[in-house]
């Protein structure tokens, strides 16, 4: 029983990390169809933001809380800039976007190396987050994982509300469903694209802040997560938050259950095979958005 509870919690916390790193992609890739290989570097930017703030703001707890909005803005600004400089010229050439953003990702990694040095750096977690909640019987829930879970759910909720209730959200959905019609209805699609990209990249920055609680911060940390993030979005289905949320937690639990009974590598292989099999059965993913566009 203890094992089942601890493992479920581990699975859910892996899912929360997956959800956080994939959430921004549900917008930029899911809603806009941009294959942004530099998404991982926006995560890295968020993580380094936390590091810089901790160097300048003394207390770990305060700097972590300050880092959340600041990292959102920093990574968001980088995303908006990338969109304005390069991606907006490539909307009709998705595969070229993949190559271009991969190049950008390599450049950003090198930039991080030049600025912060090649070795990885660390942040200190606030004492509150290094502890755990004990439920007795040897079952413990790590505070840092609970924090990440809460953060992930908060981000999902905020994003859902933005998409559902705000004028910007309505415009985003309109552009996703039918770009031409949105354009003739007077929506400035270019600006909507930039805003969507800003929010999506900003969410990657928030994920980066969360990841400082898990592991080291380094120039190549983004590459560790980028493939997983795309997997979640692809399996979840394009343009649907719901799909990504379910997929992230399902993959997290699957990974942890398999890892417990086999080994890390075997578990990863089985998860990938399961994903491939699933996509044979449902190529559009778990949920699909019915659009009126002709493509």
């Amino acid at each position: 029983m203890t094992v089942i509870l601890s493992q479920s919690f581990t699975g859910i916390s892996i899912g929360a990390v997956l959800l956080l790193i994939a959430l921004g992609l549900t917008l930029t890739f899911g809603q806009m169809g941009v294959i942004n290989m530099a998404h991982g570097e926006f995560i890295m930017a968020g993580a380094y933001t936390t590091y810089v703030l901790q160097k300048s703001v003394s207390s770990a707890g305060v700097s972590l809380l300050v880092a959340l909005p600041v990292a959102f803005l920093v990574a968001g600004a980088m995303g908006a800039l990338l969109e304005w400089l390069l991606i907006r010229r490539l909307y009709t050439r998705p595969l070229d976007t993949l190559l271009v953003t991969w190049g950008v990702s390599l450049m950003l990694q090198q930039l991080a190396r030049d600025v912060f040095g090649a070795p990885n750096v660390q942040t200190h977690a606030p004492d509150l987050l290094t502890g755990n909640i004990s439920l007795g019987g040897g079952i413990t829930f790590a505070n840092s994982r609970l924090f990440i879970l809460g953060l992930a759910l908060f981000c999902v909720l905020a994003l859902t509300l933005i998409l559902r209730l705000t004028p910007l959200g309505r415009r985003i959905r309109a552009v996703v469903q039918n770009r031409d019609l949105a354009e003739v209805s007077g929506i400035a699609t270019g600006r909507v694209d930039r805003m969507t990209f800003f929010i999506g990249s900003g969410l990657a920055g928030v994920a980066g802040v969360a990841l400082t609680l898990v592991g080291p911060i380094g120039p190549t940390m983004g590459t560790n997560y980028i493939v997983d993030a795309f997997l979640v979005v692809v399996v979840g289905g394009i343009g649907q938050l719901k799909g990504s949320v379910i997929t992230a937690f399902a993959l997290g639990v699957l990974q942890s259950v398999l890892e417990y009974s086999t080994t890390v590598s075997v578990a990863k292989v089985i998860v990938l095979v399961a994903i491939v099999a699933f996509l044979q059965w449902r190529p559009q993913g778990l949920y699909t958005l019915r659009t009126r566009s002709l493509a």
Binding site: V3, S6, Q7, T10, I14, M32, G33, V34, I35, M37, Y91, T92, P94, L95, L98, W102, R113, A118, P119, N120, V121, Q122, H124, A125, L129, T130, G131, N132, S134, G138, T140, A142, N143, S144, R145, R179, D180, L211, L213, V214, G215, P216, N224, V227, F230, L231, V234, I238, Q255, S256, Y260, T263, V264, S265, L279, P283, Q284, G285, S293, A295
Partner: protein
């Protein structure tokens, strides 16, 4: 995007293709088998007033965190030797090559040092993968490499001097220590490559013969940061202690997870063999306090030679810079080579090798003696505990230098290993 007519499957294939190409480019097919065929060996250039020595370390990439410190320690030794008049009246000229954390690059740079720079000896390499990549190069050119890091043993190249610990000077004493403490149920956690897997093979053989039990064994890919499940397994296993052969940054994620799961150094100590002072600093002392390490040297090791070494290093590179076992071994390796050359009265590799047996040096870790037959070094094993200040203090030592036994021939239980 109405223009998006690419299927999800095609996209996944595209992404994996990019990933795969990145992986391929990172492990190019070159094995460092140089094109040159002059197997007679490249002779070092000792005609001038200076002699070149090669420094082969990763100054960039994932291993830079560790290898830059070794590079610094080598430079310090060279500086000291030059200040004292050099070797055989010739000043040493350091020639640095960046292995860039990439094993084929190590092989190419090794060849460049020997052939183009005509160095008299080369110092460096950290991972066993990089050592295995350069080994054939040094053997073909009959040039010397001094390797400064503890490793998994089971190797004796005629052209490599192993200045770090082999298994019977680090891992076996660590197991003896755990057994003495009554910690007989072990959980093995390591990175997924040659050193941890070989080390764990040795640990399992030891455990079987000495009445210890290995209750679990798990490997994480190099650079992995998700240790939730592994820590849960460790927790449920009822182990007394964890034997940790994780390398590099995975240690950060592992110890963060370990602490937040409620496991402590009191309830289940972790003994690590790849975490030295430099790594303690980067992982964070709050996660490592009171955990155990096994090495042959700590910054806190007492003795005049070490006081001098630490002071010289910090004067050169900064007051806040710790010294560690691999750095110390690198520093010692240059001094040992100098002593060998002076005993031989020549830079000639064959003569230096012949003169190597019995060379001693009053090292920061205590007296070390070269064993000419195996080209390893007699070293004292030391178990240490991480303190609140991030420094490691010794809690046990082997009482004197242990004779190197890379193939564990002196241990009955190890007869099945190769």
């Amino acid at each position: 995007m109405s223009g998006l007519s690419i299927s999800r499957r095609g996209l996944l294939a595209g992404i994996s293709a990019v990933g795969a190409s990145a992986a391929l480019s990172a492990c190019g097919a070159k094995t460092g088998d140089g094109t040159s065929t002059d197997a007679a060996g490249a002779s070092a250039d000792t005609s001038g007033s200076t002699v070149g020595v090669g420094l082969l370390n990763s100054l960039s990439g994932t291993m830079a965190i560790s290898e830059v410190t070794v590079h610094n320690a080598l430079l310090l030794a060279i500086k000291e030797i030059n200040a004292a008049g050099g070797v055989l009246g010739k000043k040493l000229k350091a020639v640095s090559q960046d292995g860039a954390s990439d094993w084929p690059t190590f092989a190419e740079k090794a060849e460049a040092l020997i052939k183009d720079d005509k160095v008299a000896a080369t110092f460096g390499c950290w991972t066993s993968a990089s050592r295995k990549a350069v080994k054939p190069v040094f053997e073909r050119y009959k040039s010397l490499l001094f390797y400064p890091v503890q490793y998994e043993g089971l190797e004796e190249s005629p052209y490599i001097f192993y200045i770090g610990a082999t298994t019977n000077q680090q891992i076996v004493p660590a197991l003896d220590y755990l057994k003495k403490q009554g910690l007989t149920k072990l959980y093995l956690v390591g990175s997924d490559y040659v050193f941890p897997r070989t080390a764990n093979k040795i640990i399992k053989a030891y455990a079987k013969a000495k009445g210890m039990t290995v209750v679990g064994e798990d490997y994480a890919p190099l650079g992995s940061t998700e240790f939730g499940t592994i820590v849960n397994k460790v927790k449920d296993s009822g182990a007394d202690a964890v034997f940790n052969t994780l390398n590099g940054d995975s240690n950060v994620a592992f110890f963060k997870e370990y602490k937040s799961s409620g496991l402590t150094a009191k309830s289940m100590p972790v003994l690590s063999v790849s975490i030295a002072e430099e790594e303690v600093k980067s992982i964070g002392t709050q996660y490592l306090q009171d955990q155990l390490t096994a090495w042959n040297y700590y910054e806190t090791t007492p003795g005049a030679a070490n006081t001098k070494f630490v002071a010289a290093y910090q004067a050169e590179y900064g007051k806040d810079k710790p010294t560690s076992d691999p750095m110390e071994a690198a520093y010692v390796s240059v001094h040992l080579w100098k002593a060998m050359v002076e005993k031989a009265g020549s830079f000639d590799v064959a003569k230096v090798k012949a003169a190597s047996d019995g060379i001693t040096f009053d090292a920061p870790e205590g007296k070390v003696t070269v064993d000419g037959a195996s080209q390893h070094v007699h070293k004292t094993a030391r178990i240490g505990k991480v303190g609140a200040d991030g420094l490691i203090t010794e809690v046990w030592n082997s009482g004197g230098p242990i004779k190197p036994d890379p193939y564990l021939k002196g241990y009955d239980w190890a007869s099945g290993l190769s």
